[in-house]
Amino acid sequence: MEVGIVSYGAYVPRYRITPQEIGRVWGSDGEAMSKSLLINSKSVPAPDEDVITISTEAARNMMRRVPEVDPKDIGALYVGSESHPYAVKPSGTIVAEAIGCSPNMTVADYEFACKAGTAAIQTCMGLVGSCMVKYGVAIGADTSQGAPGDPLEYSASAGGASFLIGSKDIIAVINHTSSFTTDTPDFWRREGQDYPSHGGRFTGEPAYFKHVTSAAKLVLKRTNSAPADYQYAVFHQPNGKFPQRVAKMLGFTDKQIEVGLLTPQIGNTYSGAVPLGLSAILDVAQPGERVFVVAYGSGAGADGFDITITDNITRFNRSAAPLVSHYIEDKKVIDYATYAKFRGKIRVKEEVA
């Protein structure tokens, strides 16, 4: 049975802050940081936005594109994130209610640093492929935080995307998925801590590059494919430089990763990064084109996918919901003081409920 993407939807908050502005406050060279990370600005959620609202907006955009799909036919929904608003209480139940697919279904929240969204896609593939559900919804979204002054603060941003996984009227067949997973503590956040910690340069070679290249090579080998067989590729993008470098290491060109590389405009959306990059590709892809996808999550693991766009994309109503480019362009730049207020970095008197 063919399993793949029936619909998709994206969402990125409209506020932006620049590395130059962050550097100005902390006495660092923001311009140099911008160039070294290849990040021109990062998205910032409004005070009333979180993973649940971002996931809901993305999922509603997904459903707007397939009005013929009855939400009650969705049998599973997974939200992958490292910034769920609750430590205990699922984000997914609220999203499921908001798109009208509960109660006869299963819901769970996933966490695997930046690849929880693609882990959700793999789970839905299994459920649909085994006929346990007709449709599954896989969401990757985050409102990630970096400690004030930490290098992460220049990149950690917000956004997400949602995918309807099914076996009928597929716009993109997922031909294959392979993962590569080890115990590598390159980035973590302990229970109760506000901000994550990371291993500095340790996040590079033994973590991101080893896992992304290993998963990529597994997919290429198992599908008997070469980088030149793909029109598009999207890799996890903690900054703008890593995906460019890993693409080059694997034999992909800058042109192949251009459409799905969003970090320079919106920063690292963590669990939303690859799902948003894939959404940007689905916004423009044509029948027969192939897409190579590798997500990475610290801790560490990488999920690779081989995807082919089908003829159904020509009948698919992309314009029923905003394209990723709309969210990239619809922005309002804020200063650090506003950013600090929005992200709860300023302690205020606790309100009385």
């Binding site: 009208g100 619809d330 207020k341 929005f342």
Partner: protein, 134 residues
């Protein structure tokens, strides 16, 4: 706010669940069991529907002195929106500057955080409005 009280209203806050009186055609939000105009004639004729979420600004104001839980949002706008189904809703308007708001402008409902019972309490979600692009 009591968790149970808010929870009971989630269908309306998330998905704009309303009711229509099939005796006179009026739409009510939040839902009610009996039409306030038709009274007993409406019994058994109240039909559930989800509002489509779009409407136009009927009136608005800018809030500069906010309740404590909305301090972080100020100044913010509160709008009365005449929904396409005819019923009036009131909520915040987001993604817009006060100088850009006009009576009659088209808006759409979206899900946002409405509040929380302190840092360890339940988070409440519901509809706010944003301008419709174009």
């Amino acid at each position: 706010m009591a968790t149970a009280r808010f929870w009971r209203e989630n269908p309306s806050r998330y998905n704009l669940k309303a009711v229509r009186c099939n005796n006179c055609g009026r739409v009510f939000f939040p839902p009610r069991g009996v039409c306030s105009v038709c009274h007993r004639k409406s019994i058994g004729k109240m039909e559930c529907l989800n509002l489509k979420g779009e409407g136009e600004v009927f009136s608005f104001t800018v809030v500069h002195e906010a309740p404590s839980q909305f301090e972080i949002l100020k100044p913010y706008m509160v709008v009365m929106v005449k929904m396409d189904e005819g019923v009036m809703l009131t909520s915040q308007l987001i993604n817009s500057d006060p100088k850009d708001v006009k009576i009659g402008m088209r808006v759409k409902a979206t899900l946002r955080r409405l509040g929380e019972d302190g840092p360890s309490g339940v988070i409440y979600y519901g509809y706010k409005f944003r301008p419709i692009e174009g």
